[in-house]
């Protein structure tokens, strides 16, 4: 799974990963320590020509990571909200009920990325991510094992992208076991890509 690449060395490995690119477009609150000539139009809150010192701007992670680099220090970045103490407390109390997807579709990955931004709270965030996942694990496992037939879409909606992938893996394995149990896996079938394609074509004709 592409989402499971560790940060740090991860960027190179994930260079062509769609998920990593999506994740790195998440916005990070940043404050400019220097002014930036002529790029004032990037800040929708003003009409000024330049970005001035002290301007606050939500930068995409890919840009924030570069500008906040200790060698450059063009901006300082703030930990995004879902990883701050308030949310860490909520997760600690009962991680199972939190809608992670709403906080961030790539909750774990974005949290990990922010660790490298040298927040004083980094280690606390890291610990909170680990605990949140260990707490939620059982629920994801049980749901992926029982979800056959029933409508669990509301529960799955609370899962972040990694959790959703995990859920899908568990479910697929179990469904294919049930197919095997009743002997269905002995029947050769039309490939899924082909049947989807044919179905679409039929719909287009109708």
């Amino acid at each position: 799974m592409d989402l499971l690449c560790p940060p740090g060395g991860g960027m190179k490995q994930n260079y062509l990963s769609i998920d990593d690119i999506m994740m790195s477009s998440e916005k990070i609150p940043s404050t400019f320590l220097v002014s930036v000539k002529t790029l004032g139009y990037l800040d929708p809150s003003t009409n000024k020509k330049d970005i001035e010192v002290g301007s606050k701007l939500d930068l995409p992670l890919w840009l924030a990571l570069s500008l906040a680099h200790p060698r450059k220090k063009f901006v300082t970045v703030e930990l995004t909200k879902p990883y701050k103490a308030t949310y860490r407390e909520i997760l600690k109390a009962d991680a199972g009920v939190v809608n992670l997807y709403k906080l961030c579709p790539y909750y774990y990955a974005l949290g990990q990325q922010q660790l490298s931004l040298n927040h004083a709270e980094g280690i606390l965030v890291a610990r909170s991510l680990i605990l949140a996942f260990s707490d939620r694990f059982r629920r994801i496992m049980d749901l992926s094992g029982n979800a056959i037939g029933g409508d669990n879409s509301s529960l799955i909606q609370q899962f972040d992208e990694v959790e959703r992938r995990l859920f899908a893996l568990g479910q697929k394995s179990l469904q294919s076991f049930q197919r095997w149990e009743v002997g269905e896996s002995r029947t050769l079938r039309t490939s899924e890509l082909v049947s989807r394609h044919r179905k679409r074509k039929r719909e287009a004709v109708d």
């Binding site: 980094g122 890291a126 394995s173």
Partner: protein
């Protein structure tokens, strides 16, 4: 791997058949079998037994452990211990499935046997779920899982291993914060 591949691998296991035809030894690439004499039991790989059975050339005899008594013992043991008990065959589920499909007439109380197999399976599945949960909670980097059968592993594999991988990246990134906190990179 696909579950049907687990079955495929299980079909390599030997099973006792009684043929109703005669034929000299067959020299397969994967080993020799036979000779076959009507009424004389012989051991062949399961895939061969199935093929002969489909042509009504033999009957398949279930192994000793596929009896109500033996399975009840196993179920009892499985219920009373916290660990996984050893099953008579590492392809337990696949073998039961194959035998119940192809050797049903020779299995006494086949329906009761089927129920027992399912019961044992369900008890173990519940155990596997709680031990997986424990494994994740204690954040161990390693676990010993003796006596888990291959089909159980195959079902659990995609979800459990990906979860462990996820947890591993979370732990790695935690170390990453420690290492880089005091120095520029």
């Amino acid at each position: 791997m696909e579950h049907s591949e687990m079955e495929f691998i299980a079909e390599k296991q030997k099973v006792k058949i009684v043929p109703n035809f005669s034929m000299s030894k067959i020299y397969f690439i994967s080993g020799e079998v036979g000779p076959f004499q009507p009424g004389l039991p012989t051991e062949v790989p399961f895939w061969l037994a199935i093929s002969l059975r489909q042509r009504q050339k033999c009957v398949i005899h279930p192994p000793d452990w596929l009896t109500i008594e033996r399975l009840e013992e196993i179920k009892e043991a499985e219920t009373t211990t916290e660990l996984f008990t050893p099953l008579p065959n590492t392809h337990f589920r696949e073998m039961c499935q194959l035998l119940l499909t192809h050797a049903k007439p020779n299995i006494q109380n086949a329906d009761a046997v089927r129920t027992l197999v399912k019961d044992i399976w369900d008890i173990r599945a519940a155990k596997l779920r709680s031990s997986s949960d424990k494994f994740i909670r204690v954040q161990a980097g390693h676990a010993r899982i003796d006596n888990l059968t291959l089909m159980e592993i195959n079902i659990a594999r995609p979800f459990l291993l990906a979860s462990l991988d996820h947890l591993h990246t979370l732990r790695t990134s935690k170390q990453f914060t420690k290492k880089t906190r005091n120095k520029e990179y």
